[in-house]
Symmetry: C2
Subunit: 208 residues, 2 copies
Amino acid sequence: MDDNKISLATTRRLPLYYRCLSELNEKGEDKVSSAVLERLLKIDAATVRRDFSYFGQMGRRGYGYDVKILLELFNDVLKQDTAANVAIVGVGNLGHALINFKFHKTGNARIKMAFDVNPEVVDTIQSEVPVYDINEIKQRVRDEKIEVAILTVPNSQAQRVTDLLVKAGIKGIMNFTTEIIDVPYNVTIHDVDLSLELQALIYSMDQD
Amino acid sequence: MDDNKISLATTRRLPLYYRCLSELNEKGEDKVSSAVLERLLKIDAATVRRDFSYFGQMGRRGYGYDVKILLELFNDVLKQDTAANVAIVGVGNLGHALINFKFHKTGNARIKMAFDVNPEVVDTIQSEVPVYDINEIKQRVRDEKIEVAILTVPNSQAQRVTDLLVKAGIKGIMNFTTEIIDVPYNVTIHDVDLSLELQALIYSMDQD
DNA sequence: TAGATTGTTAATCGATTAACAATC
DNA sequence: TAGATTGTTAATCGATTAACAATC
């Protein structure tokens, strides 16, 4: 039971729980019920209880859950390992915006550096993040133990740059291009296709 | 059968098919099989066939699908209505990046205007997109028939600005904040939580 | 004790995919 | 005709949720 695989859907909700519990804790709330979390997070109370129960019996019947205990749990689960080191590859509009994005606020990620080909940004520091020439990927990634890359290069460069990243030892790529990129089995790709998301929204609006 | 509701998962794949078929068409390909699409898009061939079959019998047994016919179909399905008019609300780093994002390239969306409170950007034009004061939302949204808003304001402003948008008659909101915002039943929310996506990637990397 | 809420089972829903008859 | 590939059924998988006994 303890070793039961936690479902993908559940793991995606963990940061939401963590965020919400942090806020409750700051407001001085000691306890919270699955019914309240349903209202706050728009996640069915049964789903909340089921999710929590993956980690053991975290609550008390007739009372609810202790905010601090849950917070500690999720803190452990989510930050288990030291924060992941992340590099942004491609400092265009989107890349630049993501450099400024406060990923560390919720997550266990830290933007350590960025790469680009444009001599105007190479060897500058953007919002405390150093920008290096893309030729230095291999060396820098190894030296600073970067594990994750955020790929915000033009589509046409996506696969080529990905190959460089893989060779440098990157283990996960958040792909903002719309290319479908190939990687070895031991590298994880997570596609974030903003056009697709907008399209999906518009489509579901028309659906009524 | 014709009126069979198309599943959410399928509708989210439609833009991917459309994109891929466009590329095949440009390369001069006349036909394509579900097996080839599986390879190109990493979507199971059976899923591809099932998806296409929602629109009738689009293929020819023993041959495959005619690229041009499919392209026409998806063009119709996806752009059925005239392109949706979109406003970006909050011209910070991310908002600015999204102004420059080529949403029209795949989709049927057009960024028509942006809103902000900062006097430094209000009444300027950013990459051909006019930026207005947030007080003008109601009037501008109505006059220009804006239906969709991309919300890139600070978290603390998310609900307040959403209320303004709803009052102005917006029907869909792509929410880049991490707030869980409330809207009436007839307004569609689509959350895009970049921290969450990165977190999910890191989590799934550790999973081996 | 009475009331409240968990933890968990079982039903249900939605999506994927294997398999294969139909047929170009 | 023989070979290829669709269209569709049925099996399977994964996730949600209703329901309720357990119990604080």
